[in-house]
């Protein structure tokens, strides 16, 4: 019997019934990872995982994470394990500490099993810019489709059914876009709900940790078990927020959902439009009220440039520690300046240098008024407009991407369309944002996104769970049993 392709609760049920053990499962996961053809792996933790699994003897009936293996995006610090954020500049860098979220999951007896590939330093949306090359989407029959990024290896691995969940991060849409392309549940909670301690910074006020799973229940469980104030992260929420699992089954009756008309109007994929309207009808039949609403189009168009300018600007500082002087893949040089120059010249890809240039230009004394400062103002306006919408509606609902996963050679980056990049609004506002699969288009998954008011995490997860009930697209994967 195979223990792959199971959700957290399914695997837990097997442990409780005594049908298998964490060590059996870990061994099977390792075997599957070794057969992987999609280029999802950075450093593996097989020996550590086996030892940890072997130490888990008495099943903890009330602890659903007990013995559950998971994958970790490579920009999350893991003690004693090389952590590179898929950048050559960090080749050989071994973290001295675990990220807070790793500590929490280990304390729950969940088992980290391998690090996963990503777009270099999180700066990319296609899964093609990491130092290990292209990460593939398991749904692409001829190894020809992207899985999206930057959480590419985590998404591909969960879609392949190797593990029930993966840790990922999201600065623009890096969890929610790959989730759409890989038929997964991808969730980024409200900013400040999960400690970012140990997450390699890209832009602190846009960076979020989150999860990729194959069921809304699993993501809701993970959120409940890992959220909360952390003294090591001075941006975590001090107020204790509501748990989400208890309210998942609340019905859609009376829920008010907004579809942003100017974005929806740009969509052209017929299957996607048909299925989305279908979903709307079914939700209304269950008592939800779905409204197609107007929205300031200039603000929608401003989302991508605002995101790009701010994130590139602050990325220059977030990555200014990568000099090769204190750690990392240092190159030789006569002077401090030479070491830094050589290390950064050889360590970063062209894509990263392009972003740093953009960022430095945006922050420069003589140009910042037109770029960084203006983008900060735009951020305020965009967030204000969405908050006004959230005063009236429980959530904004839209397809998470205009189509299924693109072919490898068809993805320009950065792409400029509003409908392809609007998800970054949830980073600008720190909003809870969930992508779940809602249909298949010729065997390729399509995702729908729900985004709500900050700290309404339980509500967004409840809506997602209800939609999952409607679509029946639970535990989608391409793995073999």
């Amino acid at each position: 019997m195979s223990y792959l392709n199971l959700t957290i609760s399914e695997l837990h049920a097997l442990y409780v019934s005594g049908l298998t053990t964490p060590l059996n499962v870990v061994n099977e996961v390792i075997a599957a990872l070794e057969r992987d053809q999609n280029n999802i792996l950075e450093q593996t933790m097989y020996e550590e995982a086996r030892l940890f699994a072997a130490s888990l003897k008495e099943v903890e009936v009330d602890n659903l994470l007990w013995g559950i293996p998971f994958l970790v995006k490579d920009n999350i610090a893991t003690k004693g394990i090389e952590t590179t954020a898929s950048s050559n500049i960090l080749n050989g860098y071994v973290s001295l500490f675990d990220a807070e979220i790793i500590t929490k999951l280990k304390n729950q007896k969940a088992i980290p099993i391998a690090k996963t590939t990503m777009d270099e330093l999180g700066m990319g949306g296609c899964g093609m810019t990491g130092h290990k090359g292209v990460t593939l989407n398991p749904y692409g029959k001829d190894n020809n489709r992207i899985v999206g990024g930057s959480s590419s290896g985590s998404a591909s691995g969960v879609a392949s059914g190797y593990v029930p969940f993966a840790l990922a991060s999201d600065t623009g849409d890096s969890i929610r876009k790959p989730a759409s392309f890989a038929g997964l549940v991808g969730y980024k909670p409200t900013w400040g709900e999960l400690s970012r301690h140990g997450l390699f910074a890209f832009m602190p006020t846009l960076d979020h940790l989150g999860f990729l799973t194959r069921s809304v229940f699993d993501v809701s469980l993970l959120y409940d078990l890992t959220k909360g104030y952390d003294v090591k992260d001075f941006t975590t929420n001090i107020q204790k927020s509501k748990n989400s699992v208890e309210t998942l089954t609340t019905s859609l009756k009376g829920r008010k959902i907004a579809v942003i008309e100017p974005i929806f109007a740009k969509l052209t994929n017929e299957t996607l439009l048909k299925e989305f309207n279908n979903l709307v009808a079914k939700m209304e039949a269950k008592g939800a009220k779905v409204s197609f609403v107007k929205f300031d189009e200039l603000l929608l168009e401003a989302i991508l440039p605002t995101y790009l300018i701010l994130s590139c600007s602050e990325a220059t500082a977030s990555n200014a520690n990568l000099t090769g002087v204190n750690f990392g893949n240092a190159k030789d040089g006569e002077t401090y300046e030479d070491i830094v120059l050589n290390t950064r010249t050889e360590g970063f890809s062209k894509q990263i240098k392009y972003r740093f240039l953009l960022g430095n230009y945006s922050l420069r004394k003589d140009t910042r008024n037109n770029y960084y400062n203006r983008a900060q103002k735009a951020r305020t306006l965009i967030v204000k407009a969405f908050n006004e919408l959230f005063n009236e509606f429980d959530a904004v609902m839209l397809p998470a991407a205009p189509s299924h996963a693109p072919l490898i050679n068809k993805e320009p980056e950065p792409n400029s369309e509003v409908e392809n990049n609007y998800l970054a609004m949830a980073n600008l506002g720190g909003f809870p944002s969930l992508t779940i699969p809602f249909a298949l288009d010729k065997g390729l998954p399509l995702g729908v996104n729900l985004t709500g008011k900050a700290f309404n995490d339980a509500l967004i997860l409840n809506l997602g769970y209800q939609i999952e009930e409607i679509t029946g697209l639970y535990n989608l994967h391409v793995g073999q049993r």
Binding site: H197, A201, E314
Partner: protein
């Protein structure tokens, strides 16, 4: 001189905390190199700053002492530049909203009181210490991330004397409030001087020169004198003063060029996104201020008004915070403040100087010094006897009264006993009595001397003298 001197100071104070500004690494001075270092100080990926509450409280105390407005919310910013002493590639500081703004400090100078306005006071973190050797540079990260407070004055200072007085006043404040060691030689107090000249009567500022990292108060005066000389010579010769960063070179007793100021340096400040704004509740700020140690100027007032000490005495004792704390503690056990201050700045200080000790090194508790002072004031010990007792107990903290007895030093005030001895002496010297009665006062001294001799000096001479007079008159 035909130029007006315009001086502004930037003072960095390393404030006292157990741990660093944003990490849990120890902040103990003088630890072996690179032993007080955490992953945060090294800027390892994924680390985040955690604000040190004590460092914030130190900044609140200083801002209050400098009569500043204290911001009700803490905001931090990133100051971006690459340098080998800066692991993160940026320094966390407060650019947009310093914790303190618009303050002042009144300096008491010989010519009167001078108010120096203070523009801002902000918190930031220190950089690593670099030791440049011929072939390579060593970096000590113990200093990286230590909490600093930077105080920036308005260009209100006009002379070297004022500048020195200002730094001295800051030093006094930070040490008395226990906010910092305030040691310029160890770098816990650092001063940069901005100085420019302009023709007297002009209202336009001249070109400013910055002199960095002065390591003593007297050097501040020397730097200013040297710069006034250098800049006036340039101006006299019709030359321009260049915008420069200079340093003081002890060996040539002059400032030397470090670098030309480059207005192109752009630190690209932006808000520190890893620290959410922190609200400083009014009650909390009030509590911090309420708990702070007494400021030197308030202490001074108390000494003058409550204890009726004179200016000379107060100025001397205020030079040492520890001495004032010792004095303050002793005042709980004696009301003889005058005698007490004379002992503290006299006998005690002399002893410390002679032995090369500080007040913390001696064993004698303030309570026992007070007791000793009371023995003197009550006439139970003469000053000479008290000195002997002091020397015997300063490193033992024995009870002064018991020690005096053990040394056989107690002055006898028992009148019956004294009268008995006096009458003995009179009987033995009846011839002298006649001399005294005939007005030979000198003979009186001889008789008292005899009494002292018989009692081995234990009798209060004044008392013996007056009793002697009475007894002779009876005869």
């Amino acid at each position: 001189m035909k130029y007006e001197v315009i001086i502004g100071l930037e003072i960095h104070v390393e404030t006292k905390t157990k741990t660093k500004m944003f990490s849990g690494a120890s902040s103990v001075f003088d630890s072996p190199a690179n032993t007080n270092v955490s992953v945060i100080d090294m800027a390892f990926p994924g680390t985040m700053p955690a604000v040190n509450k004590k460092a914030v409280e130190n900044a609140i105390i200083l801002a209050h002492a400098l009569n500043m407005e204290i911001d009700h919310e803490l905001h931090f910013d990133r100051k971006n530049y690459f340098y080998s002493d800066l692991p993160k590639g940026y320094q966390i500081t407060q650019d947009r909203r310093p914790i303190g703004s618009n303050g002042y400090l009144d300096l008491v100078l010989e010519k009167g009181t001078k108010r120096v306005n203070i523009e801002r006071l902000h918190m930031e973190e220190d950089t690593a210490k670099q030791i440049h050797l011929a072939e390579f540079t060593l970096i000590d990260y113990n200093r990286a991330g230590l909490p600093l407070v930077e105080i920036v004055t308005k260009p209100d200072i006009r002379t070297g004397e004022e500048a020195m007085a200002f730094v001295e006043a800051i030093r006094e404040i930070v040490t008395f409030t226990n906010v910092s060691d305030g040691k310029m030689e160890e770098g816990s107090l650092r001063c940069d001087v901005n100085i420019s000249l302009r023709p007297i009567g002009s209202d336009k500022f001249g070109t400013k020169v910055e002199v960095k990292n002065l390591n003593s108060i007297s050097n501040i005066g020397k730097v200013i004198d040297a710069e006034i000389k250098r800049q006036s010579a340039l101006l006299d010769a019709g030359k321009k003063v260049l915008s420069e960063t200079r340093r003081y070179d002890e060996s040539v007793k002059d400032t030397v060029l470090m670098r030309l100021k480059d207005d192109g340096v752009d630190y690209k400040y932006f808000p520190e996104g890893n620290i959410a704004p922190i609200t400083l509740e009014k009650d909390y700020v009030a509590k911090v201020i309420n708990m702070m140690p007494e400021l030197p100027n308030i202490k001074k007032k108390r000494y003058l008004n409550e204890y009726k000490l004179n200016n000379h005495e107060v100025n001397i004792i205020l030079q040492s915070k520890d001495l004032t704390l010792y004095f303050d503690e002793a005042t709980n056990y004696t009301a003889n403040y005058k005698t007490l201050i004379n002992w503290v700045i006299g006998e005690v200080s002399a002893y410390l100087n002679k032995e090369g000790k500080t007040i913390k090194d001696i064993k004698l508790a303030p309570q026992n010094l007070a007791k000793l002072v009371n023995l003197v004031n009550d006439g139970k010990l003469s000053n000479a006897q008290a000195r002997e007792v002091f020397n015997a107990i300063v490193m033992t903290n024995d009870d002064p009264e018991a020690k005096a007895k053990a040394l056989n030093l107690v002055q006898v005030s028992d009148t019956d006993f004294i009268l008995k001895v006096i009458n003995e002496v009179i009987d033995e010297n009846l011839n002298v009595i006649d001399d005294i009665k005939n007005g030979k006062d000198r003979a009186m001294g001889f008789l008292v001397g005899q009494v002292m001799k018989k009692t081995k000096g234990k009798v209060n001479p004044a008392l013996a003298s007056s009793l002697m007079k009475e007894e002779i008159n009876k005869r």
